[in-house]
């Protein structure tokens, strides 16, 4: 339960970090907050030859609002989101998602970029960027490029970033007017990874009908899953229990076989995803109506 031997570098600039990563692409791992990587090292599930610590690179930990978008540096601690008045007042779904990440003692160290780049399908921040149509900025040898959240998650712990790219920024749009949000997840204990979870946003049109909705399920597949086909059933409809039931059932039914493990069977996870989705849609709609 101690890390294996490795070499350590703490580059002072992003250029230096990218160069190191390019030179050691297949042997190196990026260390940001370490809340996932360090357990993997301690259990020797990961044995990188080189750790590249991003902590000494300046200007990677900002949390600010730019024209209605929350702009967060890759090295911003999760606790910085939680403690930011901007997040609390203007980005309530970001706040909710952050408060579901592990415990304060982990959020003090864990980073926003680290969690998204790690791409655990049961984690909150990957699902958050999917449901908000956020953008992810990756910086590599050819400079920075922007990746839509939809294009970012490939499979378990795998993203569409190239080997020598580093996640440097996340851009999360605010919810629009007449839009409510909800996060629902079930974990054995608060702070554990969800057995299944759902995030939803619902936008109401005049007359109380639903203009559009977004639904993401997490913890039930290889990536967070945007339930696009099920979402389509919401547009133009009056909110009702039956509607939410139908949308949630379609989303759950269209999942590929969820993970089956010691914590829950695939069948249970699928069923739970439907329950979480229905609750999320109902709560998001109720909040949109306020």
């Amino acid at each position: 339960m101690k890390p294996p031997s490795f070499e350590y570098a703490d580059p002072k600039s992003l250029d230096d970090a990218v160069r190191l990563l390019e030179e050691h692409e297949f042997e190196a791992k990026i260390l940001s907050g370490g809340q996932s990587l360090m357990p993997l090292l301690n259990m020797r599930l990961a044995r990188p030859e080189l750790l590249i610590d991003l902590a000494k690179i300046p200007d990677l930990d900002h949390v600010r609002e730019e024209a209605g978008t929350l702009v967060v540096g890759g090295m911003a601690r999760q606790r910085a989101l939680e403690l930011s008045p901007i997040v609390r007042e203007r980005f309530p779904l970001v706040y909710d998602a952050t408060m579901h990440i592990a415990h304060p003692q982990n959020r003090n160290q864990g980073t926003v970029g680290g969690s998204i780049a790690h791409a655990d399908p049961a984690a909150e921040l990957p699902a958050l960027v999917m449901v908000t149509d956020a953008e992810i900025v990756a910086t590599g040898p050819d400079g920075a490029r922007t990746i839509a959240a939809d294009e970012f998650f490939v499979t378990y712990l795998t993203t569409s970033m190239e080997g020598a790219e580093i996640l440097t920024e996340v851009r999360i749009p605010a919810l629009g007017p007449s839009t409510g949000h909800s996060l629902q997840e079930l974990a054995r204990r608060h702070g554990d990874f969800a057995l299944a979870g759902a995030m939803a946003t619902v936008t109401l049109a005049g007359g109380g009908t639903i203009e559009s909705g977004r639904l993401v399920l997490f913890g039930v597949g290889a990536t967070p899953i945007r339930a696009r086909d099920a979402e389509q059933l919401l547009a133009g409809e009056k909110p009702s229990d039956a509607l939410f039931e139908a949308v949630a059932a379609k989303a759950a039914a269209e999942l590929d076989e969820p993970l089956s493990d010691v914590h829950a069977s695939a069948e249970y996870r699928r069923s739970l995803a439907g329950v979480m989705a229905k609750r999320a849609l109902a709560e998001a709609t109720a909040r949109a109506a306020v």
Binding site: M1, S5, F6, G34, M38, H103, P104, N108, Q109
Partner: protein, 166 residues
């Protein structure tokens, strides 16, 4: 790129420096290199919270942090809580309310609680539970720990009030 590094940090106000393997975790540096064995090593993957210390004032797991990450930092451990021979109000409250049995998890609990009260001297029950949820105790059942937190908050508020009046 190094496999060893010379690092320095202030732990409870005292400077410690040593040349270490970069793979050394912070908790092992504190226990082995600094000789401060009050911080305990439990699960070694950041779940149980026994190793929780303050890193520049923030409660973190020292078993999933490398000592090199704390180079140049201010660290507080349970040894730094009591100013002298008198117990810190958190320690006093744990004793009075039976907030510990075997005591293995206690240093981590105390540092998490210390951070919480430092940030917010008047936390809600929910906030307290959120913080205690990040620490595992296998003896007490948590109710006595919760009571100890409430008692510590009262003790610290009373001490602040009398200090302000004095």
């Amino acid at each position: 790129m190094d496999t060893t590094r010379k690092i320095q940090m202030n732990v409870n106000g005292t400077s410690y420096s040593d040349e270490i393997d970069v793979r050394t975790t912070l908790v092992d540096f504190l226990r082995v290199n600094c000789g401060l064995t009050g911080t305990h090593v439990g699960c070694e993957h950041g779940v149980c919270g026994a190793c929780t210390i303050l890193w520049n004032g923030n409660a973190v797991r020292s078993c999933i942090m490398l000592a090199v990450q704390a180079d140049g930092s201010e660290i507080s451990t349970v040894e730094g809580l009591a100013p002298g021979s008198e117990l810190h109000p958190i320690q006093q409250a744990f004793m009075e309310e039976h907030g510990l049995q075997c005591g293995f998890c206690t240093p981590g609990f105390m540092m998490s609680i210390y951070e919480m009260i430092s940030r917010n001297p008047d936390p809600s029950d929910e906030e307290i539970k959120d913080v205690l949820g990040g620490q595992i105790c296998r003896c007490t059942g948590y109710q006595t720990i919760f009571k100890a937190v409430r008692s510590a908050i009262d003790k610290m508020a009373a001490a602040n009030k009398s200090a302000a009046q004095g």
